[in-house]
């Protein structure tokens, strides 16, 4: 029962990532694409934690932490570039 719920959640997260990829493809200008990237990052963190839970390894969570910190910097960098402050 619990396994079904977890797997369904992962499938929903995958659908969400596909939707975000659609916005990435279509987005009329760069800011839309960066928003899609931001959302994809967050959903990827949830997928990483899901993978850690099915692999039963606590240490995989370190990867998610690095991900959360560094991809934030990437988005901020693109924003600063757009407003010509880099």
């Amino acid at each position: 029962m619990a396994d079904i719920l977890y797997n369904t959640s992962a499938v929903l997260a995958l659908i969400a990532i596909i939707l975000a990829a659609w916005r990435l493809l279509k987005g009329p200008n760069v800011a839309d694409r960066v928003v899609a990237l931001d959302v994809m990052t967050i959903i990827s963190i949830s997928l990483i934690v899901y993978v850690a839970s099915i692999a039963q390894r606590v240490i995989y969570l370190d990867v998610a932490m690095v991900y959360a910190l560094i991809s934030f910097i990437g988005v901020v960098a693109i924003a600063r570039y757009l407003e010509r402050g880099l």
């Binding site: 240490i59 995989y60 370190d62 990867v63 932490m65 690095v66 910190l69 560094i70 910097i73 901020v76 960098a77 600063r80 407003e83 010509r84 402050g85 880099l86």
Partner: protein
């Protein structure tokens, strides 16, 4: 049109060349002999829980030395190509100030990311971290403060000192391994300690910390010279 056809021809040739290589990859069912030796003997011999770390730092230590050297050369290349020419006037373009929210957030987060980077390379033998990852995280911390305070200067003397000092110490530890233990970059110059604790695995945490500092300062050097140079 001819060009496009030629490109397609090259690509088809490449696919034909590469395809057997890829299709020969069979799903393995057990480790090959070399990997088996590393996995079997690694934990007892070197005391490192992360076997990838033991391969990088000790078993293939010379490769890592070479890779650090390549990184150093690339950094030197970037610095050389973007050096400030004498006499050319620096006209700093007007940059937009970053928002106050971002500045406050940076001031709060930078010490934290630093500590996290140090955690990553200090625990290279216990967790998936290591010197390369930790160095990148530390470079990212400095990058964040470069993003929100674009006018601030980095102290190049300290940067160069950290880089050279960690490089020299890395080599010294490697050579000490020849005299005190079995070979170059052997980690058994320090006692192995209890398996799975922080102060274990001999010199691996020390070596990885030095690699982390070196990689971090080199990446900061690349970023800094790419940001500073007047164009």
């Amino acid at each position: 049109m001819v060009k496009r056809f030629l490109i397609l021809l090259v690509l088809v040739f490449f696919v034909i060349m590469l395809l057997p290589l890829v299709s020969d990859i069979q799903p393995q069912t057990e480790l090959n002999p070399l990997a088996k030796k590393y996995v079997k003997d690694g934990p007892d011999e070197l005391g490192s829980a992360n076997l990838v770390t033991s391969v990088i730092v000790t078993y293939r230590g010379l490769d890592t030395l070479g890779e650090v050297a390549v990184l150093f050369i690339a950094t030197a290349g970037v610095g050389f190509m973007l050096r400030r020419r004498k006499g050319s006037k620096t006209n700093p373009q007007k940059k937009r100030e970053s928002s106050e929210i971002l500045q406050t957030g940076t001031a709060l987060l930078t010490p934290l990311i630093f500590l996290f980077g140090i955690y990553i390379f200090l625990h290279g033998h216990l967790t998936p971290g290591g010197g390369f990852q930790g160095g990148v995280v530390i470079a990212s911390a400095i990058l964040l403060s470069m993003l929100s305070f674009p006018q601030s200067e980095i102290n190049h003397k300290i940067l160069n000192a950290i880089e050279s000092l960690s490089g020299v110490l890395y080599l010294v530890i490697g050579i000490l391994g020849i005299y005190l233990a079995a070979g170059f970059l052997d980690n058994r110059i320090l006692p192995l300690g209890d398996f799975g604790r922080l102060f274990s695995a001999g010199a691996i945490p020390v070596i990885y910390s030095l690699i982390g500092l070196k990689v971090g300062s080199e990446l900061v050097g690349i970023l800094d010279s790419m940001q500073r140079s007047d164009s």
